[in-house]
């Protein structure tokens, strides 16, 4: 018979086995979020289709027509925007969702035991499904432009993994901070909005002067967005690898530190939430 022992610091030790044991809860929470999301919005999936298209339209007009920024290679500017917007939208909505996830599941946290990491992690799934829908739109757009991506497409999953890692890393940070400091939720929209301007979403990062390029790469989204563009669009300009290395390193650090901080504060969540 399995015996369960509860004492101070115990949960810490069996954390990862618990995480595995509660994997079904992870699926069900993600499934719930998805169901609710597509049931609740009046236009449902149409919203997921419409939003990226509208943003693409605006960005293309603003950055290409008005600001007259160059595209990469022969790619239409709208494709350039879309390829950059994919990871950005995913990252931004992941941050928003996961930072609020524990607060909005307060009834679960205060009534049931499970590794709390499940909550922010499963909230990212919804954003990921939106991402997949947007990706399908991109494929349709490419077909319309008769645009065929090169062999580099095989590297795309690596950049997706990087985006997911960064989303989880920053997401759990914000999630834990949000529980601890209740006014932190005002900071999150600011981070998302600010991030949009300092990330190369509406323009190619090749417009950044070379001497600033490395500094610019300190934004971990730069490497990821560049990577997406590089794998999806055949530009002559190669990938600026330092930025990729930089964002991979930052992602790893943020992810580990985020999970460490989350677990450190997790023990008291039920007491302060």
């Amino acid at each position: 018979m399995d015996e369960l022992i509860i004492e101070a610091g115990r949960i810490e030790r069996q954390y990862w086995t618990d995480l595995w044991r509660y994997r079904e809860l992870f699926y069900f929470l993600a499934w719930r979020d998805l169901l609710v999301r597509y049931k609740q919005t009046v236009i449902g999936i149409a919203w997921a289709l419409l939003r990226p298209l509208l943003v693409m339209l605006v960005f293309t007009v603003v950055f290409s027509r008005i600001a007259k920024l160059p595209s990469e290679g022969t790619a239409p500017y709208s494709l350039l925007v879309f390829a950059g917007m994919l990871p950005w939208q995913f990252f931004a909505s992941s941050l928003t969702e996961s930072s609020n996830s524990l607060i909005s599941n307060v009834n679960l946290v205060s009534k049931i035991y499970f590794p709390r990491l499940i909550v922010p992690a499963s909230s990212i799934i919804t954003s990921f499904v939106d991402f997949l829908i947007s990706f399908a739109i991109l494929l349709v757009l490419m077909a319309r432009y008769h645009y065929v991506p090169s062999w580099r497409l095989v590297l795309l999953p690596a950049f997706i993994a990087l985006a997911v890692g960064l989303a989880i890393g920053v997401g759990v940070w914000l999630c834990a901070l949000n529980v601890k400091y209740r006014d932190f939720r005002y900071v999150v929209p600011f981070i998302v909005q600010f991030g949009l301007y300092v990330s190369p979403v509406g323009f190619s990062s090749s417009v950044v002067p070379p001497k600033w390029r490395l500094l610019y790469s300190l934004n971990p989204m730069v490497g990821i967005i560049d990577g997406f563009r590089w794998t999806l669009i055949r530009g002559e300009a190669g990938l600026y690898w330092p930025s990729v290395v930089c964002s991979a390193g930052l992602t790893a650090v943020l992810c580990l530190a985020g999970i460490w901080y989350f677990r450190k504060t997790e023990r008291v969540f039920a007491d302060i939430i």
């Binding site: 399995d2 015996e3 101070a8 949960i11 009534k111 499970f114 529980v179 209740r182 939430i273």
Partner: protein, 428 residues
Amino acid sequence: MSNWIIETENLGKKYCLRHGGAGHGYVTLREAMIHALKRISRPLRFQDAASEDFWALNDLSFRVKPGETVAIIGRNGAGKSTLLKILSRITEPTVGRVRLKGRVSSLLEVGTGFHPELTGRENIYLNGTILGMTKREVDRKFDAILDFAGVQKFVDTPVKHFSSGMQVRLAFAVAAYLEPEILIIDEVLAVGDAVFQKKCLGKMQDVAADGRTVLFVSHDLAAVEKLCSRAILLEGGRCRADGPTSQTIAQYQATILEAASLDLATRKDRRGSGLVRFVRVEILDENCKEQGVVLSGRPLRVRLHYRAAGGKTLENCRVSVTFNGWGKMYFVTSTELVNEDCLNLVPEGFIDCIIDELPLSLGTYYLGLYVDVNGDVQDWLDSAATLLVEDGNFYGTGRDYPTGGAGATVLVRHRWQVPTTASMELPR
């Protein structure tokens, strides 16, 4: 095999109470930053004077044998909820240890994780998983759950269209089919209509009869007496009594009365000139029987014993009782409001304030007393008595307050009306 299934050893849980804050557990970033700045500017004074340790549970040890049904009783704040939270692993103990042999399911709330937008079927799966079932288990028990809840027809209707009674039934049905070795239950019987409550009690008796262990926390002493063979009385986080249910309940009632009957006459923190003083407060029911705990919606009689200085009869008196929560007044009863004339009081005796239907929800309330003679304050006391109120099904719906409004709420009889179809027709 040893003969226990739950064992706690010197269990303790410490909370840090912060004074002067907003009263919630979390801090705001702004507060934290100000605090940090203060620390930097005064590095030697790191002791935060505004916080205080509070042991919600203290040195608690007990053992439960397999197949026992044990009740945990005690006043609000005695540590019952903390104990349940520790046993269900929501929070960790500060010291001590618990050993549980077998699968534990805790039911601290009915319908945890129910989502109004999802259908009955979806919610059964979601709630089942949250409570610790696997999908396969839910598959297997699905029909039985539906049957127990009696909502077969609405299985594919979003739960938001369910009546509150149906939601509770569905939620309890999921929990009833958990089949754990140890079942921890908190107050679930406080909800639902009488018929369903009976059904739940029956189900819990079945669970116990199956040789499974039940730990039951409730204010409903009648249910406790019916269901449990043993009861543990907590007081101030410690075990005050542990034994057969009837004995423990008797002791519980005795301790409550003892605390409430403290002599008011010796209190110093009072205002007024003192021509007349309150000396004792009794909380009575409609039959003038003394009560440790009262139920919302039931008759209440507050008996104020007083004594006049010098044995003189007092004329032109006005008396009032305020019903307060922490730092706020909920309502006031006063002779001035309902009587045409002032009262004349004999030198020593009592005066009763009668409330036909107590409009307060679950919680602890403090009574403030006031008396004046010819408009001059004679005696004025805060927290002269403690009023413990339990849910008493005020509205007859099993709910005494809406979701999120738990505790310390004034209950008001009211009804809602939707315009009839005739009056809703648009003018042509």
